[in-house]
């Protein structure tokens, strides 16, 4: 990835992070869009797995510091998701919108799974409801929004699949 591509990717990630803290509170949906996951995947597929893990860790720290959730849970989940995304992109990632959507869905659900289990520290019906109902819904919404955002921001960034 050359410098221009890196700057563009950083710019798009910054836009997505800003959207996460502006559009999401405005919408206030029960199953909300997670623009941080979109930004994480967008950056991770362009980084080495180790760097992606660090990127995820930093994004997670930002999320943890603002949210009221247990500190470190988002950092752990995003580190794993970022590393996995960067590692898996070498296996099957391609410039395909449907695949990108599925990738986003999977990433968001895994993130929620780790985040909720680490954050709750106890299995109860509410956690199960969150994992099997609200998390898939949020993952689907995030996948749709992520695909839309990537389509809109495509001219701004250089897509590299190798």
């Amino acid at each position: 990835m050359n410098w221009t591509g890196a700057v563009r990717t950083m710019l798009v990630c910054a836009i997505l992070i800003v959207l996460h803290y502006t559009l999401r509170p405005l919408l206030a949906w029960r199953a909300s869009i997670d623009f941080l996951i979109v930004a994480l995947l967008l950056g991770s597929v362009r980084l080495r797995p180790g760097a992606a893990a660090v990127y995820g860790f930093l994004l997670g720290l930002v999320a943890d510091s603002i949210a009221v959730s247990p500190f470190g849970a988002a950092a752990l989940a995003m580190s794993i998701v970022g590393f996995g995304a960067s590692w898996l992109k070498a296996v099957f990632f391609a410039d395909n919108l449907a695949l990108n959507g599925f990738f986003l869905f999977l990433a968001k659900w895994i993130f929620d799974l780790i985040f909720l289990i680490v954050g709750h520290r106890a299995i109860d019906p509410e956690l199960a409801m969150q994992i099997f109902v609200w998390s898939p819904l949020a993952a689907a919404v995030t996948a749709v929004a992520g695909v839309l955002a990537l389509s809109l921001l495509k001219p701004l960034m250089e897509v590299r699949t190798t």
Binding site: R48, V62, S65, I66, A75, W87
Partner: protein, 378 residues
């Protein structure tokens, strides 16, 4: 090359492990230990994002608040409209109840459902929610508290259709309030608001009606009873008829405001409605009724007065006789009938309230009033 790749993989794995370990440490940290770290992040690197989120939440809160205010305002407006509609309906129902209580009998209450076709400019008929089962028959008059509405055209078992006074088929024999002018009421052929006006045709030329004169049904023809308000004279219309006059009438009833009506039965039409709508022509009969009632009251009062006078004289006469007997030493029965009480309706021997008995051992001269003994009963 392979060595570099292996090295890179180890670095990646190491970084991942490092991030995971740091995250787990952050998770297991106590609140008092992790809060300074989070607070430092919020104050430094994440501060712009915090302010962005706060601003967005403020916007959201303002939007929700304004939406709630709008909803409250809308609810208030809707409540006000409903309240006004309820007030109007309540007033109409009160009037209908008042009309029903004045009529007392011979009517069928019904709700009026307006059924104007889209092509019609003027509402000419309405569906009533009462039919032949309830006693509604064809040609029964349909009335409202304000006056005449129309006449029943068809009567089904559970519903009926009435033509309004706006219908081209509507006719009614009418007269002025003082019964000086008679004529036939027709619907006025006009457009717009004039389509709801009426015409009083066939009024003799010698009779001139002033604007504002009230017009009532005359009772001629047998369809409508005498005395239902039709409307008021607005002006005279110029026609080619030389011997008769035609007047434009403003109807007493507005069809669009009629929601509940009364259908007068045939028997009621035959026997008349009396002074229900306050027509002056019925005043003579009302006056007769009042005079008759007054006479009967006067008769009853005179009768009571005569009875009371007779009873008083009877008591005085008996008291005089008793006093004379006592003065002569004769026996006076304590159970002597009391004519005053008899006159007042108390039977002899019936329990009575204790009365302060006067002293009867000594005859009192002043107890005999010469003016009452000498006078003869009138």
């Amino acid at each position: 090359m392979a060595t570099a790749a292996r090295y890179g993989s180890r670095v990646d794995a190491g970084l991942l492990v490092g991030c995971v370990v740091l995250s787990l440490i952050a998770v297991v940290l106590k609140d008092e230990d992790r809060e300074p770290v989070a607070s430092a992040l919020r104050r430094s690197v994440v501060a712009p994002l915090v302010s962005l989120q706060r601003g967005a939440e403020r916007w959201r809160s303002a939007w929700v608040t304004s939406e709630q205010r709008q909803l409250v305002a809308d609810s208030g407006a809707i409540r006000g409209i409903k309240e006004h509609a309820l007030l109007v309906e309540n007033e109409q129902l009160r009037k209908i109840v008042g009309l029903g209580s004045r009529l007392e009998w011979g009517f069928v209450p019904a709700e009026a459902v307006h059924s104007a076709a889209p092509s019609e400019d003027v509402v000419t008929n309405m569906t009533l929610t009462a039919g032949s089962v309830a006693g509604v028959q064809r040609y029964n008059p349909v009335v409202a508290p304000e006056g005449l509405v129309g006449v029943v055209q068809t009567a089904d078992p559970t519903m009926s259709v009435a033509i309004l006074y706006t219908s081209p088929d509507f006719r009614a024999s009418a007269m002025s309030a003082d019964a000086s002018a008679f004529g036939i009421v027709y619907p006025h052929t006009g457009r717009g608001s004039a389509a709801y006006m009426l015409e009083l045709r066939g009024v003799p030329t010698r009779v001139q009606l002033k604007p504002g004169t009230q017009i009532f049904t005359s009772g001629l023809g047998g369809t409508f009873p005498r005395g239902i308000t039709i409307g008021t004279v607005v002006s005279e219309l110029k026609t080619t008829e030389p011997w008769t006059r035609t007047y434009l009438l403003r109807p007493a009833v507005s069809p669009s405001r009629v929601t509940t009506v009364l259908v007068l039965t045939a028997q009621r039409v035959t026997q008349g409605t009396g002074n229900v709508w306050g027509v002056a022509v019925n005043a003579d009969s009302a006056t007769r009724r009042i005079a008759a009632a007054n006479d009967s009251i006067a008769r009853q009062a005179a009768l009571i007065e005569a009875q009371a006078r007779r009873a008083a004289l009877d008591s005085v006469r008996r008291a005089t006789i008793d006093s004379v007997r006592r003065s002569l030493g004769a026996f006076v029965s304590p159970e002597s009938p009391d004519s005053a009480n008899r006159a007042s309706g108390i039977l002899p021997g019936a329990p009575r309230a204790p009365v302060q008995r006067r002293d009867t051992t000594r005859a009192r001269r002043d107890s005999i009033r010469p003016d009452t003994t000498r006078k003869s009963p009138t």
